[in-house]
Amino acid sequence: MSFLASLFRPAPVLEDAIEERVSHWHTLPTPSAHTPLDRARFVVIDVETTGLDMHSDELLSVGLVPAGPRSVEIDGLAEIVLRHERARVDKDNLVIHGITPTESASGTEVAEALVSVLEHIGKSWLVAFHADFDRVMLTRAFKRHLGLKLKNPFLDLAWLLPALYPDQAGLRSLDEWLGHFGIAAPARHRASGDALVTAELLLIALSEARRQGRTDLRGLAGLADTQARLDRMSAH
């Protein structure tokens, strides 16, 4: 599909049941912009895709786990695999996420899967490592299959962590941060496993933020944004 065609693609037609669940999501209250840190609720999220191209690659699975300011709720840990009848198989990538075409084919029907993701995340703050990628992939899929615009605020640990730990500026990747804090990642590159270890990093970051006397969630997100901008500037 060409870029232009994709711009003018008509809104998807949804089954009634799906439509109803999407409308319900619309009625959920948006959390206040100034939630104090110790009352914040998060959903930590990680997506696995057919590749790293944010425009053409497809969403394969979404892993997520809800978290409060001090703990991760294991009972909410979930992984939702989207059904792809003719999932493009990129062998290199298959090695990374481990989701076989068979598994993709037996996944949950895409609209159903995405609405389920929507119900898990509600309108909470979403947390991810290199959140831009997750945000773009999710936004595109929600738009295309559910016809809705994802507006949940994102907190990006890839920027928040170096902002909180300026002495550790050399650490870049998720693996490097996990290694630094000694977090074992037994199911790395499964969406749910990655969401879980990312959630552990979130708990560490929130604890450090409290220690530094930061009490405001928006301020924390701002801190991550500034760090991201600084990083981009130094790259130019």
Binding site: H24, W25, L28, R41, V43, G63, P66, R70, S71, V72, E73, I74, D75, G76, L77, A78, E79, I80, V81, S106, G107, T108, E109, E112, A113, S116, L118, E119, H120, I121, G122, K123, S124, F181, G182, I183, A184, A185, P186, A187, R190, S192, G193, L196, A199, E200, L203, I204, L206, S207, E208, R211
Partner: protein, 643 residues
């Protein structure tokens, strides 16, 4: 957020996503023993929390404990707030896989311990309601929580016995009932049966022994092939002699519900190879030594007999090797430590008695009664294979002799006995606590005066002596005077609280080596880096604590386990607590015996130093738990004496 409950429809793969959590849990006790469904029940209800270094996790001020914690990553330090934090014994550390605060959750009370993250730490947490539900759901979990130490020990024991069973083929346990060991219906005859008939039956039935009974099947005596040689063939008795004339009358008898171990000990102590199994007087069967030790080259009973009949010291020295081999086999078979200690004591007693007999035969038997007594671990019946001598003599002065004259007769004999024991593998006591020392060869009144001095004055040296001498036991000779001395000194100690208080103070200097920074405090000495002295720091706090509490409550037993049980029986401590103390003590003994055996097999000198890093996870946890029990004993003593 709309929902925290994941949808069970489609491909949420709820179990799949829990895999990392389940895999972690399965690596640690008791979760490794839980059924998959129960483990999943648990995993689904967990939260994961982070605690920065030094952050408090539990606090006695927070009301009844509301959460169960499992450490996922990091280290947690437990501190008892009221106590002096300078002493390492008052703080200890928990590591990944360990759980807290179980006691407080079960009792619905606030924690007594502040748990604090010793480094950045992740804990899984379970709400108390779910904890309660899991207790009802999972027997393995319940077992672990309610009898933590005992359930860990069961696991070790199962492992040892499983490996013993594969090594030796079949169950070799001495913990089964005699009823289950009886191989066949007993073959019996009447007392008037002539020998010829008895021998014909024994030959036809291919049996080595015959039980002689009355018409009600009550056992009257036993006749064995061994007796045939010594009582019939050698004296040249005619074969029409009635068997009653050559049988051993009043045979040893045990009920079918008795354990094989009891039969073994009875046989070994009396030197008989057979025990009748009888219920309400009627014979059910016969157990022979071979039925009990069929898989061992060296049998306990035959070894005892050989020691008792050894013709000279040289023969006893040679039997020493067999003793080591027998004990080694028993450790490998998973025979319990308490039983092994009893067996070692029994064999050592046999050796000591035989040495005394042989030396008396050589130097002449004194013309007056004297009692050979043992002190220290031998007095407590807690020797390992290589224990230094701690012995003495209590004599009764005949009217026509002075104490000095009696000593002049006894000391050369005692010296010969001490030397002979040393040749048999019981090293001379470096502190000279031996019967050949004039200070340890005393009359009743002299012992009384010596003990009274220690109790009344209580200098550090007196206290040290008391901890060795007060655990005395008769080895050979009349017991009455020894027991009279025990009753006297037990009363004296009870009436001298100052002395017990000083003993208590002294014992608290030796703290169990629970670590502040790591699991254990290890010695920094050049000879034994990174190691724990299992005897001094592991066993001694139990032994000392048991002695103090026993003396304070008039318990006359000298054995540490018996002292603990006595305390439980008297209600001084709750029964479950005294049992946990026994379990802990026995476990450290087991570890020490295993260590000695490994060193012997490697041809090394045996010592008591163990590197905790070289223990497996389970052993490390049990050792820690055992040291925690030692802390409890010390806390109890601190409380009793306001120290």
């Amino acid at each position: 957020m709309s929902s925290t409950t994941p949808l069970q429809t489609g491909n949420d793969r709820h179990t799949g996503v829990l895999l990392p959590v389940l895999e972690f849990l399965r690596k640690h006790a008791p979760f490794d023993q839980m059924e998959p469904a129960h483990l999943e029940y648990l995993a689904k209800r967990l939260r994961l929390s982070f605690y920065a270094r030094d952050e408090k996790i539990t606090d006695p001020g927070n009301g009844p404990a509301s959460k169960f914690f499992i450490i996922k990553q990091g280290r947690v330090r437990g501190e008892t707030p009221s106590e002096d934090e300078q002493v390492s014994g008052n703080a200890w550390e928990l590591v990944p896989g360990e759980c807290f605060p179980i006691g407080a959750l079960l009792a619905r009370r606030p924690v007594r311990t502040i748990h604090r993250a010793a480094e950045d730490t992740f804990c899984f947490e379970l709400d108390r309601d779910d904890f309660d539900k899991l207790l009802k759901l999972s027997t393995a979990f319940n077992d672990f929580c309610t009898r933590r130490l005992a359930s860990l020990l069961d696991q070790v024991h199962r492992q040892v016995q499983a490996s013993a069973a594969t090594n030796m083929g079949g169950d070799t346990s001495l913990n089964i009932r005699l009823a289950d060991r009886i191989r066949r219906a007993p073959v019996t005859c009447r007392p008037e049966s002539p020998l010829a008939e008895v021998l014909r039956i024994m030959d036809a039935e291919r049996i080595g022994s015959m039980v002689i009974t009355d018409e009600d099947q009550r056992p009257l005596g036993v006749f064995t092939l061994h007796d045939l040689l010594s009582r019939v063939a050698l004296p040249g008795l005619p074969l029409d002699t009635p068997v009653s004339q050559v049988m051993t009358p009043n045979p040893l008898s045990l009920p079918p519900t008795a354990y094989a171990f009891e039969a073994a000990m009875l046989m070994a102590s009396r030197g008989f190879g057979h025990v009748c199994v009888a219920e309400r007087g009627r014979l059910h069967g016969v157990i022979s030594e071979r039925d009990l030790f069929s898989l061992q080259r060296v049998g306990l009973v035959s070894l005892s007999r050989a020691i008792n009949k050894a013709s000279d010291i040289g023969a006893l020295i040679k039997l020493g090797g067999d003793v080591h081999q027998l004990i080694g086999q028993m450790i490998a078979q998973g025979v319990s430590v308490a039983q092994i200690s009893q067996i070692i004591t029994l064999l050592n007693d046999h050796v000591a008695r035989r040495v005394i007999e042989l030396c008396q035969a050589e130097l002449g038997t004194p013309p007056f009664a004297y009692t050979w007594i043992a002190f220290g671990s031998e007095g407590r019946q807690e020797q390992t294979l290589k224990t230094d001598q701690d012995n003495g003599i209590l004599f009764e002065t005949p009217p026509n002799m002075s104490n000095g004259e009696v000593r002049a007769v006894l000391l050369p004999l005692a010296r010969r006995i001490n030397e002979a024991l040393a040749e048999c593998g019981y090293p001379l006591c470096t502190g000279n606590i031996m019967a050949s020392n004039p200070e340890c060869c005393l009359s009743f009144e002299e012992w009384q005066a010596r003990f009274a001095r220690w109790i009344d004055q209580g200098t550090p040296e007196h206290l040290l002596n008391a901890s060795i001498f007060f655990d005395f036991r008769t080895i050979e000779g009349p017991e009455q005077a020894v027991e009279r001395l025990r009753r006297w000194f037990t009363d004296k100690v009870k009436g001298t609280p100052r002395f017990l208080r000083m003993m208590a103070q002294n014992s608290l200097r030796n703290r169990p080596p629970l670590g502040l920074v790591r699991d254990f405090v290890v010695s920094g000495s050049a000879d034994h880096p990174n190691s724990i002295d299992l005897k001094l720091h592991g066993l001694t706090p139990f032994v000392d604590g048991a002695r103090i509490l026993a003396l304070a409550h008039g318990i006359t037993a000298t054995n540490t386990l018996e002292r603990f049980r006595g305390l439980g029986k008297l209600g001084v401590v709750p029964r479950h607590e005294s049992e946990a103390w026994c379990d802990a003590y026995v476990y450290i003994q087991l570890l020490r015996m295993r260590h000695h055996r490994e060193q012997q097999q490697a041809g090394e000198e045996t010592d008591n130093f163990v590197d905790p890093d070289k223990l497996n996870d389970l052993d490390r946890r049990i050792l820690k738990e055992s040291f925690r029990q030692a802390r409890k004993i010390q806390s109890r003593i601190e409380l009793d004496y306001q120290l």
